[in-house]
């Protein structure tokens, strides 16, 4: 902060400044409650009316040794008075609850940014545990940053010490609420949303302690000269009318599945085996018994998929969810679903691979596996969600295709989408297009289980239907009758039919935004980053077009024409160029790749740089 900005402090009234957008990052030990503080700040920000995007960043270990860099957990939020698409690149403010949190996150910060540290946590021992030989508060390594040393632990203790029944442990655990209070004042967040949440979440002395800590943090912001300016980020006026909530990709996916079940009239049977980062979807759906959702925690990934498929055979919407290593195991069942031609929705919340890889880091590297990773000629539709809220539409579309075309569908999400959140305009149940499962219930003459309608979909006749008893299985089917067939010509015909059915699925055309000689084409969770990067270029007079794919098989019918209408096509991906590979194979277009496999989302600044390298 420049000294000239420090005006109006007299009589306790602090200066304010208005910003269009701010990026805040909160970091602490994994036991410090940073995710909780971050999500509370997010809710208050959402209710206030900013556009926002968040990024939780968990450690791999559940409880790494306290105070170590490995145990640091962080939460980043980007909020603005205009529409934004990403959690931001460099934070404007870092809250560091201990030396390890500072050490783990300092590299993300630009010089000039503000760092709020919990000064109490910088003991000699804690500093050494974080790998510093000397306290970074004293050794000059933070020169160039605006460092605010706030004794958060002791101020929290002081705030709660008079309360009945509050232990010193309760006091220590409440310091995240103190930090939240400081931030809430600093950015002028509404406090009622947070206080209401605290009252609903906690009871007794813990409630008292958390409330007191939050208020103490707020008051500290308001009165301490350390915090010399309040930052205002106005509401985003360019928002479509409607009712909004803040939602992450996991919740949006869960709600999309529930909606697909209710709007198709099919019971939802969800089989899953715990795996990071997909387990949260199992947790979320397990709480939805009120809407008739049946979840099964299967003995393994194979069983989870098989249970979903068995349920589909019985007339349910069978869904299974996993991440990369689990998709490997489900492959066999997915192949069976291709042969049985029954609905099955497979959600792959991608993470960094191969093998166990980096389970808590994001990546988009399962695309080619989703498209091709099965033995035999085994085509199926593949979709990808593009933002946390869009997960709702994506999974609803996946279910619609699965049910309508009697096929397994793979929906690619990723860790970033699952955990990130954004404001979401709540759809109305009445406005969702119903999904007609067209169950076959009657038959004139001989029932042909592998006859096809005009979409090439076969009839779905479920057990219990008189007169339609039939057998399905993994052996090749005779066209029409579905009897076992080893006939070569029949196999060729069935292979063609299975592919033609998938490739005949109606997919909306890809839309191009902006113009220029360069097209930036993305898929999946890079949607926001690409838009943000392109906007920065356009804001500075550059010309660039963008487009995004949500359907990866079949691809939009106009895609080839679009690709050929640009001089250059840049495909940014969090893998080694998998979509680029596919586009080259399909369209013989010399696309260029921008690849990043660091376990972190693409950044708008990276996109901006890549685009500038290709436009003048």
């Amino acid at each position: 902060m420049k000294p000239s900005d420090r005006i109006g402090i007299s009589q306790g009234v602090k200066a304010t400044e208005t910003r269009e957008r701010v990026v805040v990052r909160m970091a602490g030990d994994s036991g410090d409650g940073m995710q909780l503080a971050g999500s509370r700040f997010t809710d208050a920000t959402a209710v206030f009316g900013n556009d926002l995007a968040t990024l939780p960043d968990f450690p791999a270990e559940i409880r790494a040794p306290a105070g170590t860099v490995a145990g640091v957990s962080a939460f980043q939020i980007h909020f603005a008075s205009r529409d934004i698409h990403t959690p931001g690149d460099a934070p404007d403010v870092l809250v560091a609850m201990n030396p390890a949190a500072l050490r783990a996150n300092l590299g993300l910060m630009r010089r000039g940014a503000t760092i709020l540290v919990n000064e109490d946590a910088f003991s000699v021992r804690a500093v050494q545990k974080a790998g510093y030989s000397e306290s970074p508060l004293e050794d000059g390594s933070l020169d160039g940053f605006t460092v605010k040393r706030v004794p958060m632990s002791s101020l929290t203790s002081a705030a709660v010490k008079e309360l009945d029944g509050v232990s010193s442990r309760d006091a220590q655990k409440a310091k995240n609420l103190f930090a939240l209070g400081v931030l809430s004042w600093l950015y002028d967040r509404p406090t009622d949303v947070t206080e209401k949440w605290i009252r609903g979440k906690f009871r007794g002395p813990v409630l008292d302690a958390n409330l007191a800590a939050f208020r103490a943090g707020w008051s500290f912001g308001e009165t301490s000269e350390l915090i010399d300016v309040q930052v205002k980020v106005g509401r985003n006026p360019e928002v479509e009318p409607g009712t909004y909530r803040n939602i992450n990709g996991t919740e949006a996916t869960a709600l999309g599945l529930v909606a697909a079940s209710l709007k198709s009239g099919l019971p939802l049977v969800f089989g899953a085996y715990p795996i990071t980062p997909a387990s949260d979807l199992l947790h979320s759906l397990s709480r939805r018994q009120d809407l008739g959702v049946r979840t099964i925690q299967a003995e393994d990934e194979i069983a989870a998929a098989s249970m979903a498929l068995g349920a589909s055979f019985g007339g349910a919407l069978g869904v299974t969810c996993t991440s990369g290593p689990g998709l490997d195991l489900k492959t066999e069942t997915i192949g069976l679903a291709v042969m049985l031609e029954l609905p099955l929705v497979v959600i792959d919340v991608q993470r960094a691979g191969p093998s166990t890889g980096m389970p808590t880091k994001t990546e988009q590297s399962d695309l080619l596996q989703a498209l091709y990773g099965r033995h035999g000629e085994s085509p199926l539709p593949v979709l990808a969600a593009s933002s946390p809220g869009q997960c709702f539409d994506a999974v609803y579309e996946a279910a619609r295709i699965a049910i309508t075309y009697r096929t397994p569908v793979i929906l690619l999400s990723d860790l970033f989408l699952a955990n990130s959140s954004e404001p979401w305009r709540i759809p109305s149940a009445g406005g969702l297009a119903a999904i007609d499962p067209r169950l076959r219930t009657t038959c004139d003459g001989t029932f042909l289980p592998y006859a096809r309608d005009d979409r090439l979909a076969r009839p779905w006749a479920v057990p219990g239907t008189p007169g339609l008893a039939h057998r399905v299985g993994g052996l090749e089917k005779a066209d029409g009758t579905g009897a076992i067939s080893y006939d070569g010509a029949n196999h060729a015909r069935m292979t063609e039919l299975r592919a033609a059915k998938v490739d005949g699925i109606e997919v909306p055309d890809v839309e191009v935004e902006g113009d220029g000689d360069l097209l930036v084409l993305g898929w999946g969770s890079s949607f926001g980053t690409i838009r943000a990067g392109a906007r920065r270029v356009r804001d500075r007079g550059g010309r660039v077009a963008t487009a995004h794919l949500t359907h990866l098989r079949p691809l939009p019918a106009n895609l080839g024409e679009v690709l050929r209408s640009f001089e250059r096509v840049l495909v940014p991906e969090m893998n080694s160029g998998q979509l680029a590979h596919e586009l080259r194979a399909q369209y013989l277009v010399d696309v260029e790749s921008f690849c990043k496999v660091q376990g972190q989302p693409l950044l708008p600044s990276e996109l901006e740089r890549e685009i500038w390298q290709r436009v003048s």
Binding site: D43, A46, V47, G49, V193, V239, E240, P241, G242, T243, Y244, R245, N246, L255, V258, A259, S261, L262, K263, P267, V269, Q289, L291, G292, R294, I296, A298, E299, I302, A303, S306, M307, A308, L309, G310, A311, S312, F313, A316, G318, E332, T333, L336, L340, I426, S428, A429, P463, G464, T465, G467, L468, A469, H470, R471, V472, G473, G474, L475, I484
Partner: protein, 325 residues
Amino acid sequence: MAAGQLTKADFQSDQETRWCPGCGDYAILAAVQGFFPELGIPPERIVFVSGIGCAGRFAYYMDTYGMHGIHGRGPALATGLAAARDDLSIWVVTGDGDALSIGGNHLIHALRRNVPVKILLFNNQIYGLTKGQASPTSELGKVTKSTPFGSIDGPFNPVSLALGAEATFVARTIDTDKQHLPAVLRAAAEHDGAALIEIYQNCPVFNDGAFDALRDKTRGAVNRIYLEHGQPIQGVVRGADGALRLGSDGAPVVHDAHRDDPSFAFELSRLSASPDGPTPIGIFRDVARPVSGLELGRQLADARAAADDAALDAALSAGDTWTVS
């Protein structure tokens, strides 16, 4: 179709059976098709789910709903089906390789969960469809194509395994026993929850005669130790040391299939290590335990029936919301 009028023909599909001549599967198929009319369940409410192996073909031959699944996954497919539908009679057909090797995990968990499926395990102690490799029930020292110097691995005892997996119904029968096999099927059908029925099944091509000590009329009469609930077990006594043993030197033992503690059934299962001598045949265990998801399924169906657009709207707009006009 009025269930009372069902005949064996109602359960015979139009598919030509294609097992080897003399295969024990023919006898099992005939017994199952002969037994099902008396269940009184219309064919469309019955589902056969099978895995891979010679036994897997069984699903094609029953004129019911059927799914010929993937290797070892029959119990998992059936578990999903049972979760979706509580109005079906679901049967899984599997073999010793399918159930105990590649699908071992699914078998034990279906039993543990007490899923309402009846699992028919055709045990011929060999891999037949892949032409003669050792299976997880092949005896130690068995010479096969994959074990030319004799198997170095001991076999599973499927009944012991099922009991260890908390199965509530465990039985053993023999492919050619036209009285006993249907009787065991009937008891399994009447059992609420998962049932495992091991059926000794002769493979005339790759392991012929494996069960002759029991299938042969003369030797079988001596070696079959029939287990009947409430009846003394012939040829089994409790010795002075308290252990069950074969023979007559000790206290008589009365069979109790309903005992909650599985250790008695387990003791019985350990009386024979292989089917080449006296071997218990019948229902080892038949106890009541809550059936997986039975109550839950009904509650969920009610919840779903009541879930209208308003309920969905409420779920969509849960938590903190704000309105932009």
